[in-house]
């Protein structure tokens, strides 16, 4: 069934570059998702950006998922785009514990700045090395992180 997974160039190249940099790869509706160990995130994204055959130079989006009550609780989701090949790739990094934290991608993609601030604001995930990690959408003195699943949609907290 996973035909796209075997033919996917990015996955193949990534396996050659660092087999331990891939935890898992999945496919749904033709979209490939690669799970990356947190400590490999920067190296893997640098590789994907700089490898000339792949050229994932464009960071489309960063967001997160809250899988509460599972542990590790959070998945940070990165959508990369290769303008050259017109291809997209989804990277995921798991983060958990009381103080979830992943490395910031700002040194690799300047565009990550606002997206990471948004994830920090709404999910409470820290980004190590981010130059200006402050709330962006919610008021500065807001308590709690609205997009977490244990945060109610209506009524009082």
């Amino acid at each position: 069934m996973p035909s796209n997974l075997e033919s996917n160039l990015a996955l193949k190249k990534l396996r050659e570059f660092a087999p331990q940099g891939i935890e898992e790869a999945r496919e749904f509706r033709g979209e490939v998702t690669i799970y990356i160990p947190p400590e490999w995130l920067i190296r893997v994204s640098e590789f994907l950006r700089d490898e000339p055959r792949l050229a994932f130079k464009y960071l489309s989006d960063i967001t997160a998922l809250d899988l509460y009550p599972n542990e590790p609780r959070f998945e940070v989701v990165y959508h990369l785009l290769s303008l050259q090949n017109a291809e997209r790739l989804r990277l995921k990094v798991r983060a958990g514990g009381d103080d979830p934290c992943v490395d910031s991608l700002v040194p690799v993609y300047p565009a990550a700045n606002a997206f990471e601030r948004e994830v920090f604001d709404l999910f409470g995930i820290q980004f190590a090395g981010h130059p200006y990690l402050r709330r962006i959408l919610m008021p500065e003195d807001w308590e709690g992180y609205p997009l977490r699943k244990d945060y109610p949609t209506e009524g009082y907290r």
Binding site: F28, R29, S60, T63, H79, A114, R134, I136, P146
Partner: protein
């Protein structure tokens, strides 16, 4: 404490100016904090969130069909593009085939949306830079497009006309006459605007060489849409990753290498022409057939069959009270909205409500390049740069 600029130790103290959130040329409630040396901007930072309403949280509490009404309210200048992005994402989750007639009408209406969104951009951009009359002309033409939207959906702006699986209802019989009238008259109007601006010495002084971004910078900062193409990057999702039958239409993707405010102006003007070509092709070639997919468990039945068929009645009841269950999975669907790459990241856990629906708003990403564009320039250029990235704060803050 509101966001402000901290003084850099060892540097002389300069004036800190808070521009907005109530400022006519910030296109909504955008606040900029500028550090000034005389009239030159030394550092800049933006402060957003004044319109944050938690759409992404609300999506999780609504069924997929209910979510469509929220999308209108994000980018309120291009509601149909948002409808389309949301519906395509859900349809991708469901792996649903949309009949060609619905696809054609979707293309036609989203291209009209692009034109009317660009018209608002042009009018407000021009008025920001001192050309008052352009706004009045632009709103005149926009009104005719809004009339068409009202004809098909009953609403001028909050259309919610595209539904999962097709369209809400069959458009009225004579709507194409209105479209035809618009297609005939609009090229003349477009020329009118260009006569007012393109060679106007004041306009040129205010836009040429202002807010420069190279192609590499634009890519690194995640710019999309006309802002990216104005920097010479040939990237249009309608061409490169076609959706909703765009591959069947003949149009060009305008790009300009200069990367300044004037280049982005030219790109958007040409885009309106190309959109008009698409509208014309769509109008002439609308196929016959149904406007909803053949999937009774997802698409609401029409009134007629509800009164004659018990299955239709049951399906209707199920869809309205409970919703439909997409398979477990996640998709990221992008479309080329008037402002750039509009992405919907939809995660389903098999229940009738999305587990997560994240919106990649083009304005949110484009806004990041603003400080880069204005640092080192005059305050008057700040207004030109805000206008040129064409932000809608409803979408930035969501």
């Amino acid at each position: 404490m509101p966001i402000t600029l901290e003084k850099i130790p060892g540097e002389e103290e300069r004036v800190i100016l808070s521009m907005g959130p109530q400022h006519p040329s910030t296109h909504g409630v955008l606040r900029l904090v500028l550090e000034l040396d005389g009239e030159t901007v030394v550092r800049a930072i933006y402060d957003i969130g004044y319109l944050h309403t938690g759409f992404e949280k609300s999506f999780e509490d609504k069924t997929y069909s209910q979510g469509i009404t929220l999308t209108d309210r994000m980018d309120y200048l291009s509601p149909l593009s948002n409808n389309l992005g949301f519906c395509l994402a859900v349809e991708k989750l469901l792996d649903l085939e949309i009949p060609p007639r619905a696809q054609w009408i979707r293309v036609l209406l989203t291209e009209l949306t692009r034109i009317q969104s660009h018209l608002v951009w042009l009018g407000t951009h021009a008025i920001d830079l001192g050309a008052m009359s352009v706004l009045l002309y632009c709103f005149r033409e926009r009104e005719t497009i809004l009339h068409i939207f009202e004809m098909v959906s009953g609403q001028r702006m909050m259309t919610s006309y595209f539904r999962v699986g097709g369209l809400a209802l069959e458009p009225p019989l004579d709507w194409l006459k209105q479209v035809e009238k618009f297609v005939k008259t609009f090229p003349g109007h477009l020329e009118e605007y260009e006569n007012l601006l393109s060679k106007n010495p004041i306009w040129l002084k205010r836009t040429v060489g202002i807010g420069k971004l190279s192609g590499d910078e634009a890519i690194a900062w995640g710019l999309s849409g006309p802002s990216l193409r104005g920097s010479g990057v040939d990237w249009d999702i309608r061409k490169k990753e076609p959706y909703s039958s765009y591959e069947k239409f003949d149009f060009k993707v305008p790009t300009r290498p200069e990367g300044d405010v004037y280049a982005r102006y030219l790109v958007r003007m040409e885009e309106m022409r190309q959109s008009l070509r698409i509208v014309q092709q769509a109008m002439e070639g609308i196929p016959e057939g149904p406007i909803k997919a053949n999937a009774p468990h997802i698409v609401l039945p029409d009134r007629e069959s509800m009164k004659t068929s018990i299955e239709a009645l049951i399906y209707h009841f199920k869809i309205v009270t409970e919703g439909f269950h997409p398979p477990v999975g996640e998709v990221y669907q992008v479309i080329e909205a008037p402002r750039g790459e509009l992405g919907f990241y939809m995660v389903s856990d098999g229940s009738p409500k999305p587990f997560r629906c994240h919106v990649r708003a083009p304005s949110f990403a484009n806004l990041q390049a603003l400080p880069k564009m204005i640092e080192g320039r005059l305050i008057a250029d700040v207004v030109a740069c805000i206008g040129t990235i064409d932000i809608v704060l409803g979408e930035v803050d969501r």
